[in-house]
Amino acid sequence: MDTVKYKEVKPKSLRGFALSAQDKRELWWRIPLHIVLIMGAGLMLLPFIWMFATSFKPSPEIVAWPPTFIPQKPTLENYGKVFELMPFGRYFLNSLVITLICMVTICLTSSLAGYIFGIFRFPGRNILFIIVLATAIVPFETYMIPLYLLMKELNAIDTYQGLMAPYFIMSFGIFFMRQNYIAFLPEELLDAARIDGAGEWKIYWQIVIPLSSSALAALAIYAFISVWGAFIWPLLITNSSDLKTVELGLAGFQTAYTVEYGPLMAGSVICLLPILVIFIVLRRQIIESVAMTGMK
């Protein structure tokens, strides 16, 4: 059993040297593990592959039995159709604008509030922060009715403001940025800037924000993903087609044309695409920031 210990404490640089007897033995049962993992990975990717495949099939092929995996006559007609059957461009633009505005707002409010809660001492600080923290765990679904009533009282039903209202401030973001500032912001630097005569806002914009850019980037990704995927609030707050997001358009389209899976899949692909691009480009950071914070 000593071999286990040896193998584990062996420094990384030595690993590539030669396969020990242990390594050789492990290789044999590693192969079945890899097979299982690859099959699992295939299962994880299958719905996406199926979505892409269906979106490029002409309508007779979509309902072909047995189904084909690779489109026999690949076509882009579904992508054209989805824009004809509904104002999909408008929906996409709505989603994009709403998501970007909310993302920027979340980053600003989170960093400002996180900075203030983390670095400054002022009366009532702890109690205010505890309130923010305690309300962070309350799921949106429990208070959406009064929020809807509030929007009604403010005449914000079916408006962009109303649609974006719950996404301006993210309690998790405040908490996340606060932790970041407590851990990484050198207070001497701020004091030095103060002695040089810099005002508090100047310090915030020119020192604090640039110093926390990587945390802000992680938060921005998280905010983008969560606002882009939002469904229940847009469903409740919007009535007119002009305000619909991609998600609402797709879900509504489904009831209207249940059998038209071609355009529906094309629309789904378009809806996934921004997140997929973000994920592929920033895959490491996304997994790391989730791992770091347990954000959900």
Partner: protein
């Protein structure tokens, strides 16, 4: 003199910076939460949500509301199914990827991918996979001679079909959190056990998994809370042109139906309070057993 003016400047910054944020937060978060509780004590009509104070009438009504009972049971089953499956699969994956496989980055990426994807397109493609006539799953089952099934048509099978989708979606998240948990276990312990003659399996069984308990509990609670809030996947996968309501009753679906379809905002709020209590209890369990790191 200079010190006090600096102090004043700081306080001014705190006030100007924080006041608008807290104001918006108060209006869009704290006030609605409080009003959920008060609203649950009222009988609403179409015009006025707080039309008539009825005390705990809404809550006693809940007890005899079959639709709510079904929704509560369904949601609980959904949560149990999702949690059990995604926890075991996530733990298995995390252990395999940390203990037995050296370069696990690509696997992690692939298994994590569904978690970040927006729920609506994902639900749509799963609905297509579950399609009773042309669905991919029915095609696969036909290899084994199983006749075509309408998975989503009946609540009994539909619920588990959506559980399967949800497990697919969250398993990668559980895996990533558990992997971090495993990597945070000091190497010292397993090394000491190995010196004492423990094999790989006993190290897993007696060192890694027990030390992972707080992380497992965290994953358990987070997944359960998420599962209790399920709505979009059920809505997208079961709404149809013919049926008026959702085939599968779930808690948030009931809240939406009562509050927005039947304008019983007060009654819906009492259901929201039940959801709140469930989530609070789960969170308390977690705080009770896990020492907080913050």
């Amino acid at each position: 003199m200079v010190g006090s003016s600096l102090q004043r400047q700081k306080l001014l910054f705190v006030f100007i910076g924080l006041a608008p944020i807290l104001l918006v937060y108060g209006f869009t978060r704290i006030w609605p939460i409080l009003r959920t509780f008060s609203l649950s004590l009222y009988d609403s009509d179409l015009v006025k949500p707080e039309a008539k104070f009825i005390g705990f009438q809404n809550y006693t009504d809940l007890l005899s509301d079959d639709s709510f009972k079904t929704a509560f049971i369904n949601t609980t089953l959904f949560a149990i199914g999702t949690v059990v499956a995604s926890l075991f699969l996530g733990l298995g994956l995390a252990l395999i990827l940390t203990q037995f496989i050296r370069r696990s980055g690509v696997y992690q990426l692939i298994y994590f991918l569904p978690f970040v994807m927006p729920i609506v397109p994902v639900s749509i493609v799963w609905r297509w996979i579950y399609d009773p006539t042309y669905g991919l799953l029915n095609f696969v089952l036909s290899w084994f001679g199983i006749a075509k099934q309408a998975f989503l048509l009946y609540p009994e099978t539909g619920l588990w079909a959506i559980v399967a989708m949800n497990v697919w979606k969250v398993v990668g998240y559980n895996m990533v959190i558990l992997i971090v948990g495993i990597r945070n276990i000091p190497f010292l312990y397993s090394e000491a056990a190995a010196i004492d003659g423990a094999g790989r399996w006993s190290i897993l069984r007696y060192i890694t998994v027990p030390l992972l308990k707080p992380v497992i509990l965290f994953v358990l609670v987070i997944t359960t809370i998420g599962a209790y809030n399920v709505f979009t996947s059920v809505y997208v996968m079961t709404q149809s042109t013919t049926a008026s309501g959702n085939a599968i009753k779930i808690l948030v679906g009931e809240i939406v139906d009562n509050g927005f379809r039947y304008s019983k905002m007060g009654y819906a709020s009492s259901q929201a309070v039940i959801l709140f209590v469930v989530v609070m209890l789960l969170t308390l369990i977690q705080f009770r057993f896990v020492r907080s790191d913050t």
